[in-house]
């Protein structure tokens, strides 16, 4: 190898991507050539400079939700077919049977409502799991409710109530825009010890109150309630009784 060969190969050499024979030849040349030693050293510094200085862009918190909504939309409306989910069929059928005896015309509505509610539950779980998988829970990181609340304005057609709950043991970590039922919703992120809690806030009409307010899916506990014309979903891998405490803290009147 002469100086030109070394110069050409030094970039790959620094990356550890030369084969053994080429490495041996290059290093033999370096022993006798101060110029090339300097050149290689310089390549190394340049690489470090880029690694240290270049920005690593993290995906915004809402992107996983946006992709999830797009995936759901792309699958078509297969999920809207009533009573598709086997697990729910007995319950939905039982409900329709009971109601059919009381008021036969209302039964269809109730079954549809159950199914819609079930789909919504599943979508809340999916949104939460997506945020966890993408390791990107937060668009706006702040424990300050006066920072998080205004961040949502203009992004949603509702103004979610935002409160830090540190005194109750659930510090506010931040918020993100997410998607549930293919529409943008607010997700507030709280912490309790090592656990993360997502609090989804949806416009009230999104969830007729038919499904059980407390449930669990795929190892996550869920709580649902309505307040001030909005529907709240809390989801976490917390113990169910701790999630109950969280719900109480959220619903406690502000002082």
């Amino acid at each position: 190898m002469d100086c030109n060969d070394v110069t050409r190969a030094s970039s790959s050499y620094v990356d550890g991507e030369l084969d053994a024979a080429a490495v041996a030849a290059l290093e033999r040349h370096l022993e006798g050539c101060a110029d090339c030693r300097l050149g290689v050293e310089h390549q190394r510094e340049l690489s470090q400079l880029v690694r240290r200085g270049a920005q690593r862009f993290a995906a915004p918190g809402h992107l996983a939700g946006r992709i999830g909504a797009a995936l759901d939309a792309a699958k078509g409306d297969a999920r809207v077919v009533p009573l598709r989910r086997a697990a729910w069929r007995p319950l939905a059928l039982a409900a329709s049977f009971v109601l059919a005896m009381i008021l036969s015309s209302g039964a269809t509505w109730l079954v549809a409502a159950y199914d819609r509610q079930d789909r919504l539950t599943q979508e809340v779980v999916s949104s939460h799991v997506r945020a966890l998988l993408s390791n990107r829970m937060i668009d706006i990181a702040s424990s300050d409710q006066h920072t998080v609340k205004p961040w949502f304005s203009g992004k949603l057609d509702l103004a979610p109530p935002v409160r830090d709950l540190t005194t109750a043991g659930f510090p506010l970590v931040g918020g993100r825009l997410d998607y549930v039922g293919q529409r943008p919703v607010a997700a507030l992120v709280y912490r309790h010890n090592q656990h993360v809690i997502d609090l989804f806030i949806l416009p009230g009409d999104a969830a007729p109150g038919v499904a059980p307010p407390a449930t669990s899916r795929q190892g996550y506990a869920l709580r649902r309630w309505r307040d001030g014309g909005m529907t709240f979903w809390a989801i976490s891998d917390l113990a169910p009784e701790d999630l109950d405490k969280f719900e109480l803290a959220v619903r406690a009147p502000a002082n």
């Binding site: 030109n4 050149g39 880029v50 200085g53 995906a59 992709i67 297969a78 998988l133 993408s134």
Partner: protein, 186 residues
């Protein structure tokens, strides 16, 4: 159920790479909005072709699709940014030999040590996409040359020459800028 479990399997594999996908897209598209569009496009495409994924390196497969979507986005909206790769490689191979700029004396080295993060970011962003992407994949994603070859759909030999060329361009840009700043300061 099959639809849902397929979606979930895909999400479990693909979403952990969301940051990597976004970083590559953001460097190629150079703004948040277009980067998000490209990544969403890529995830939809990846989901549709998920059946054709043969196993192996999922990150490289995913980043290959992200890159493809970025180039499609650029071709659609900003075609002037897509310099012909053939032109660039010809330039790299011919007119300007690699040798001189890689050879540095000590004053020049001292000059480069003054380069700050802002300048580094600016100069990477100014590189033509074929050079920008190999540099970003190598230095920020820590990809092996073989992976870069897979993602950018070029031979490993081309990865080597483009990366060397990218670094040379960067180095030259820094020298030029820092010397100019010195000139202005006087």
């Amino acid at each position: 159920m099959t639809d849902d479990s397929r979606t979930r399997r895909f999400e479990r594999l693909a979403l952990p790479h969301l940051d990597a996908a976004y970083n590559l897209a953001r460097w190629l598209m150079r703004n948040d909005h277009d980067a998000e569009d490209a990544v969403q496009d890529a995830y939809l495409r990846a989901f549709n072709y998920f059946g054709s994924f043969q196993g192996g390196n999922f990150r490289a497969w995913m980043l290959m699709i992200v890159r493809r979507c970025c180039y499609d986005g650029l071709a659609r909206n900003r075609p002037t940014e897509l310099v012909s790769v053939e032109d660039i490689d010809a330039l790299a191979a011919g007119a300007e030999p690699l040798s001189d700029a890689s050879r540095v004396d000590d004053p020049e080295r001292a000059l480069l040590r003054r380069a700050d993060a802002a300048l580094v970011n600016e100069l990477i962003a100014e590189l033509p996409p074929p050079f920008r992407e190999v540099l970003v994949l190598r230095e920020l994603h820590d990809c092996a040359y073989r992976e870069i070859a897979e993602i950018a759909a070029i031979p490993v030999g081309t990865v080597m020459s483009r990366l060397a060329r990218a670094r040379k361009l960067l180095q030259r840009g820094m020298k030029r800028r820092l010397k100019k700043d010195d000139g202005n300061g006087l």
